[in-house]
Amino acid sequence: MDFTRLAINRRTALLTSAAIAANVINPLRALAQETPRKGGVFNVHYGAEQRQLNPSIQASTGVYIISGKIQENLVDLDADGKPVGVLAESWEASPDGKTVTFRLRKGVTWHDGKPFTSADVAFTAMNMWKKILNYGSTLQLFLTAVDTPDPHIAIFRYERPMPLNLLLRALPDLGYISAKHLYESGDIRPNPVNLAPVGTGPFKFVKYERGQYVMADRNPDYWRPNAPYLDRIVWRVITDRAAAAAQMEAGELHYSPFSGLTISDMSRLSKDKRFVVSTRGNEGNARTNTLEFNFRRKELSDIRVRRAVAHAINVPFFIDNFLGDFARLGTGPIPSTSTDFYPGAGTPQYPYDKAKAAALLDEAGYKRGSGGTRFSLRLLPAPWGEDISLWSTFIQQSLSEVGITVEIVRNDGGGFLKQVYDEHAFDLATGWHQYRNDPAVSTTVWYRSGQPKGAPWTNQWGWQDPAVDKTIDDAATEVDPARRKALYAEFVKQVNTEVPVWMPIEQIFVTVISARARNHSNTPRWGSSSWHDLWLSA
């Protein structure tokens, strides 16, 4: 490994982190007292076009970044990360956890003028969330019916107890409502409304030119008084990250969400007064870098080898030198940003210790052979994000120092998912685990056994542990919040002991936004939220 170059990297990384810290705090504090200004066009970087834009049938930030302004969810998260009503005004659960009642907001209309009612909620929940929406179909697996005794009351009935705090933390992402009258006839998936969304939100869809831009205008009949401030939002399709950074600098873009620029451009722009570069407002989109082990490889099914691999990699060094201020040391599948469930760092950890790694490998019976090699492994890195690419190279070099040769096999998105989660043609794999505010949404599937072959981001390691399965199942239906938190702490302890997947780095997406923007980044999922209070200063 070339340490001289890394030393320079380290210095620049530290300098830029100081600059970022300074830049983040100042503009926000200084401008707290201004009067909002109406008008203006807000230009947003849109990096990857989706096949459709309806958030009721596709849960991804690439959809929310646009349709989160056009369609609305039942609840969203407030500045403290607590659920706050949007289309729902209040809610309550029955003591057995099998019914949840939502009282809906009155006087809300769809962009085409029809009134919003509980029939829309029932239709969306039963036909979209339960049947089509990714993660929604798992969350609503035991949903049996949605009763609508009144146009403004929706009662969700579950076969098994549904913890209210799980539902409320999942619904900001998995709770977008679509209009029943536009979807009730014909198939939902090919419905053209999916590409010209109609909602109740602060902005009305205007136009989508594929490959170029999406446009939405102010909704004059929006239910929140005096909102929104902006006249228009334009999402510009720019696939090249360097070109997007150039357009930010040329003033043609105001906002690049979700780490849409290269790490070096983000560091550079953070020193420019015209921009704010920060992880703030993305706490609800935390992710961890993974190292996934395939137990079908004899060596990796030995717990001593997995632990040795973890001990052989100097994670703090990697973070300091390559990710800088944009990442921190992870302690397991539940990231520290998840205040409701984070169990602390007291669970089993694997700090960097090369001697211990070597000793564990010797003990497992894999002594250094000729040329100092113990055995070789194939590592498949996911193609999203430059951090994964850097991380995979770092793993390769770290493991070669303890005598494990690693061959890196790169694929594009479809190829990576197929080879890892369907064909199991990997020894090690690395990518991102997305944490969605509650471990039951998209985290426990990484560990629960019995996942169907081919389901991406699930336990495809050839590993199962009845004790872990039981903890996961108990927690998923536990209605008492305190007991649920304790169960997830137990879960983290168990999986950190067994390490079928190691999650040593925590990351939050980075926002690059014009310093003219006000009221931005003020909720944990701001990029996805409705932007009803966003405005541009002169």
Partner: protein
């Protein structure tokens, strides 16, 4: 009448090639791991197995590969390019939308490169080994050796960020949509930098070819005759040399028009233009077979047409070629 017969013969000869290309691309994409549903899952950030199965059925991927290929070819015979899984609409209309920016950019940069290639090539050849020749040759080498994405980004930095003369990207001004002549001018403004970026590399090739071919023709006997007749040098160059020196240029433009019609992924990405190159790239990453095959089909057709046109131009430039054909 002869032209039509020739055209018919050419078209008939290219059908087997076309079929071979389509089947080849279809099979090649089968070797790539993952299908369009895997790609979609990657984009969505996950989903369960039931969703995936449902989607595979929706996209017709539950059939066997020979059945899928058979279906595709049968549809093609009926001139139906199929349905795009990324865009959710017929491939023909997706391609039709992307064709105008591609053709505009390609025509603009090829004309730019062709015209200035001729001018600089002639200047260089006439002052061979003197300073204009050296200067032009060095510039040509620099243009040729510089990667186009770097050129593009530097052009954005200079003309859009510092000087603020030209837009940094996009096909037209979205903030204020214009109509008529203003829209034309607006699009032209947006195409200046991409045209230069794409054109400079081709310019380098053209001026080298033009220079070499001019030098060759300048030494032929009939040029000496023309000079001996007492014609002035400009007349000799324009009427006698240029026309014959153009033949290799025409060959080259025929070949390159074909490649360029496939679009330029790099320039389209750097300048955020909605062209065929980016569409093709996206269809590979998203494993959208129908769209990719559609693009291959359309570009292959265009190549055949352009090559035919080039043959006709040959005949005009040099009547001996037509006599043999």
């Amino acid at each position: 009448m002869r032209i039509f017969r020739l055209a018919g013969r050419r078209l008939a000869a290219s059908i087997p090639t076309l079929a071979l290309i389509l089947v080849g691309v279809f099979l090649l994409l089968q070797f790539a791991p993952g299908d369009t549903v895997d790609a979609m899952m990657a984009q969505m950030g996950g989903g369960d197995a039931a969703t995936a199965k449902e989607l595979r059925k929706f996209y017709g991927l539950d059939l066997s590969i020979p059945a899928q290929l058979g279906n595709y070819l049968w549809r093609l015979i009926r001139l139906d390019l199929g349905f795009s899984s990324i865009y959710g609409k017929p491939v023909a209309s997706v391609i039709l939308e992307r064709l105008p920016p591609t053709i505009l950019l390609m025509t603009a940069s090829l004309s730019f490169a062709f015209f200035f290639g001729i001018v600089f090539g002639v200047i260089a050849a006439r002052g061979v080994n003197k300073w204009p020749d050296t200067l032009i040759s060095i510039l040509g080498l620099i243009f040729y050796a510089t990667p186009s994405f770097w050129f593009g980004l530097m052009a954005i930095v200079v003309f859009s960020i510092y000087l603020q003369w030209l837009p940094a990207g996009g096909f037209e001004n979205i903030g204020a949509l214009q109509t008529g002549i203003w829209r034309t001018l607006d699009i032209a403004r947006h195409l200046v930098l991409p045209t230069l970026t794409l054109g400079l590399i081709f310019l380098a090739i053209y001026l080298r070819i033009m220079r070499a071919s001019m030098l060759e023709v300048l030494n032929l006997d009939y040029v000496r005759t023309a000079r001996a007749k007492g014609l002035d040098e400009t007349r000799v160059v324009i009427r006698h040399v240029l026309r014959n020196a153009l033949l290799p240029m025409v060959t080259l433009i025929g070949l390159q028009a074909g490649t360029m019609l496939g679009g330029s992924v790099v320039v389209e990405s750097v300048f955020s233009l909605p062209g065929l190159g980016r569409l093709a790239y996206e269809s590979v990453v998203q494993r959208d077979l129908n769209t990719l095959l559609g693009i291959v089909f359309v570009s292959a057709l265009l190549v055949i047409v352009v090559n035919f046109a080039v043959d006709l131009v040959y005949a005009r430039l040099d009547p001996r070629i037509a006599a043999e054909g």
